[in-house]
Each structure stands twice: as C-alpha cells, then as structure tokens.
C-alpha cells in the first residue's frame, strides 16, 4: 500500500507560556498555544476543521467538545483518544489519516495543563482519594505511583542486563546540556553524573534527577495536506511514517518490564516510512524518567535489548555526540505538564525546519519523535522529514 500520509505535512507548531503560570487556566494555555501554532502556519482558527485533544485532569471530560467550544471551532473530525502522554504523537497519525482521506483539511492538535499550579506549586501527589473503583484497586492500595512504576521497570532492567544508575544518569546530564541552549527550558544549569547519583532516591533505583519536571504548559501542532502546505508560511514538514500501540494500563500487567510498545509502533513507523535507523538525524524520545528513554531506545531498535546502558554512555546523546536527542531539554529539564508528547513533535518539527539556533543539529533532515503514555503503557512513533 502506498503511504498516503506522505501527502500530509505539519505546518505550524508552538508552545504556550511554560513553567509556573498560576494566572492562566489549562484551557487558556491550550488555546493560546493553538493560536500561536496557527500563526506559525499562516492559518486562522476559521480554517480548523479537525480537532485532536485530551485533558485527563479536572474539567477535562469530553475534551474535544469542550476545547472546540472554548475556541469556537466546529470540527467535522474529532478525536479525544486518551492514551496518556503518547496521545499527542498518536494524534499526528490520526490527523494524517483524516487529511489523507479527505475527512478534514486542517487538523489542530492541542494540549494544556496546569500540572504544577494544580498542586499548589509543589510537585507532590495530586490524588488523595481513599476509595478505589475499577482494576486500579489492585495497585493503588499498595502505594503505586508513576515513579514507583517506572522504578520497577528500571530495577528489572538492571537485574537482567546489569544496567547501572550511572548509565541512567548519563541521559539526565546530556539532556541538561541541551536545555542550557534553550532559553525556554526551566532547568539550565549544568549537572554531573555525581549530581544525579547524589540526589535523593525517590523509588529505588530512581533518583530525583532521574525524574522529569512538573510544570504548567501548553502546546499545539497544525497539519494540512502537503499540497496546501507548500503555499503556507513555513517549510512543510512531511509525515513520513507513523505507528502506535499499547500493551497494558497498569504496570503489574506489563508483559515485559524491559520492553515498551515502541517495539511495535517504532517498527510500523520505520516500515511505513521506508527509512532505517541510520536515516534518523535527530531523535525526540519521551523522557518522563531516564529509564523511559533507555527502554524506548532499545524498543525502537536503535540498539539491541539490554544494550541501552552502553548506548547512552560517554554522553552520546549530548550536544556534539553522535546521537542528538531531546534537543530542547526534554521533560527532564525543559518542561513537563504531566503529558509531554506534543513537545516531542514541536521540537522534531523545529529541528527539521532548521530553526533551533544554537541547539540546531546541523542539516537535520529527518527526525523521529516518540511519545510514551501511562506507565510505559502506550507509544506513538512518528518520523518527520523536510519537504
């Protein structure tokens, strides 16, 4: 089958205000990012006829209806697929499919979250419910948490493959170097492997600096047909290949703690793009935790299973390394509003356009973006290229 999605392009990307934005609602952050992304494309909100969004916190029920109403949009294609942080990467696949088949012309993917302001400005737990309905009643009474879940995966990977905390720390250190070149990044001061190792253990083996930030943020991405894209403001960024998959909802049900669904979504994206790993100039890999990156790199096939630790060693993913990754500073150092997926897409597009200034990867023609959602549960992988 010919890959019709190649006839679709990303034409606009933007972030809202980032960091601590207590005076703006998550709805406003999402809408303002949308306005900026449409400006970036040279389109108006009147052009939007496809809407893709999900809000998983308070006030987010019926997300796409709610956000369409908020922004005055009447979509003829609507999608609130809710698979956590990877939703917004999967939306690129859904939007490309909708545009390629003529179900909509201009697709808006948007996201807004006040994840830090909702917690009174602190990074602690949000839920204090004591009455658990549904399958999660087999996890929550035991004190499961997001970090605890990822820690279980990290511990198993260490057990099976001898991966070390120092190797995980390499990822945090390299990502911070990229953040130092991004004025929008929240954490820009350099850190060392010792800093990561000496930060307090939250859930063994994960230290504080193995964990992403908690921030407020919004982001948006606009897509249309490649044909229309060529008449718009910016260089079109083609959707070359996509894939999505999920394997479980709860960490105790994950079939193999050392392999994510990126083994499926990545394979699909590579197959559909006709490209191979050596074609990827820059990678944006969801980094909710350092272990998320390591497992994803293996699952995507950038290295063999168990070799992720060696792969990221010697600052391979840092500026100047031979695997430039998470070039805006990632969820570890730039921003993380609970779901990070859309920001992997935004940076992938900017790198392929060549508009990243000091952190630009020279001549980046092809970017791979991968979102992970839930507790290593879901993934979306996309491969983007310059038209």
């Amino acid at each position: 089958m010919a890959n019709a999605m190649r006839d679709v392009a990303i034409v606009g990307v933007a972030e809202s205000d980032l960091g601590r934005v207590p005076d703006k609602s998550k709805f406003q952050l999402s809408a303002e990012a949308s306005r900026l992304a449409l400006d970036d494309a040279g389109l108006s909100v009147k052009d939007v006829d496809g809407l893709f969004t999900t809000i998983i916190t308070e006030g987010g029920q019926f997300s796409s209806m709610m956000m369409a109403e908020y922004m005055g949009i009447t979509p003829r294609f609507t999608d609130s697929t809710s698979i956590g942080g990877s939703s917004f990467v999967a939306y690129v696949e859904h939007a490309a499919m909708a545009i390629a088949t003529g179900l909509c012309d201009v697709a808006l993917i948007c996201h807004g979250s006040t994840n830090i302001s909702d917690r009174g400005g602190k990074g602690g737990p949000m839920s204090a419910s004591t009455d658990v309905f549904g399958p999660s009643q087999f996890e929550e009474p035991y004190g499961v948490s997001t970090v605890g879940s990822y820690a279980l995966a990290a511990q198993r990977h260490m057990h099976e493959y001898g991966t070390t905390s120092e190797q995980l720390a390499e990822i945090a250190v390299a990502t911070r170097k990229w953040a130092s070149m991004n004025p929008k990044a929240r954490m820009r001061d350099p850190i060392t492997i010792d800093d990561v190792m000496n930060s307090r253990v939250i859930a063994s083996p994960l230290h504080l600096l193995d964990c992403c930030l908690v921030t407020d943020a919004g982001g948006a991405v606009v897509l249309t047909s490649l044909e229309r894209a060529r008449d718009l403001k910016k260089t079109p960024v083609q959707v070359l290949g996509t894939g999505e998959a999920h394997t479980h909802r709860m960490i105790s049900q994950m079939p193999d703690l050392t392999q994510t669904a990126a083994a499926i979504s990545g394979k699909l994206a590579f197959e559909r793009s006709g490209l191979t790993h050596s074609d990827i100039d820059v990678a944006q890999i969801y980094d909710s935790f350092t272990i998320t990156v390591l497992l994803t790199l293996e699952s995507l096939g950038f290295c063999a299973k168990g070799e992720g630790g060696a792969f990221v060693s010697n600052q391979r993913t840092a500026p100047g390394g031979d695997f430039p990754m998470n070039t805006q500073g990632g969820a570890l150092s730039y921003t993380h509003p609970g779901m990070f997926g859309i920001f992997t897409v935004i940076e992938g597009v900017r790198q392929v356009r060549g508009e990243c200034g000091p952190r630009q990867v020279p001549n980046a023609q092809v970017a791979l973006c991968n979102g992970t959602g839930g507790v290593l549960s879901s993934t979306g992988t996309i491969i983007l290229g310059r038209d």
Binding site: D131, P141, Q155, S204
Partner: protein
C-alpha cells in the same frame, strides 16, 4: 492518620475481597481455556469466556521486580515510608502488585521466594501482601 487508598469491591472483585477478609487468597481460572488470570475480571482475558472459576491459590510467588519507595504517593502512606512496592509472579503464573513486608526493605531482591500474608487494614478491608519465605 489518613487512610491509604482502599478497594471498593464491585461485581468482578467482590468475591476476591470477601475471601481476603477471611484470609484466603483466591484467583480466577478459566473453565474454557484453562488459564489463570489476575486481577479478577468478568471475563477471561485470554479467550473472553465468562465461564470462570475461583480457585484457592498456593500463595507462593517469586519477586519479578521491586522498588524501595521513600516518598509517600498518597497522604495515607505518610507514616509508611520506606515501603517495598513489588510485582510478584504467582506460582500459578499471573503477576500481581503487592508490598513485601516483614523484613528490611533494603534486603528485598528480585528472584526472592515469598509467600502470602494478610494485612487487615480496616475492619472491612484485608490486603494480601507477601513476605520472604
């Protein structure tokens, strides 16, 4: 002291929690395909049959992964840190989340043999947990 999150039994799970209250550990076996499953469901997650049986499990398990948690994930755990969050593989095959108790948290390792113990959290709720053999 704040309560931790507690299960609210429902159609799929009432029998499990009722048994736990009696300090019995039961899991489901499918009469159609013969597979065990955990957590309890209204259908078999292998073949979608509704023909399920409850069976007394051996209570023996092996630690598949574990993590010492130093931060309370919920106000109800404020006095409980550090605690060991673990996934164990039951002798019957399925995996479940639990806590490893009755030992030094730092001493808990992947591969350890453990067996079920029952913790009465309230008058209404008992949680199956595991302890090193």
């Amino acid at each position: 002291m704040a309560l931790p999150p507690l299960p609210r039994p429902y159609q799929d799970t009432a029998a499990y929690w009722e048994a736990a209250k009696d300090h019995r550990f039961i899991i489901q076996k499918c009469k159609e395909c013969g597979e065990f499953q955990f957590y309890p469901r209204g259908v078999c997650s292998h073949c979608l049959s509704s023909d399920l049986d409850w069976q007394e499990a051996s209570g023996k398990a092996e630690i598949y992964s574990c993590s010492v948690n130093y931060r309370a994930p919920h106000p109800g755990f404020a006095d409980a840190t550090p605690f060991v969050l673990a996934i164990v593989t039951l002798e019957e095959g399925p995996r479940m989340m639990t806590n490893i108790i009755g030992c030094d948290p730092e001493s808990v390792k992947i591969g350890m043999a453990v067996s079920v113990v029952f913790e009465d959290v309230t008058d209404e709720v008992t949680l199956p947990k595991f302890t090193p053999v």
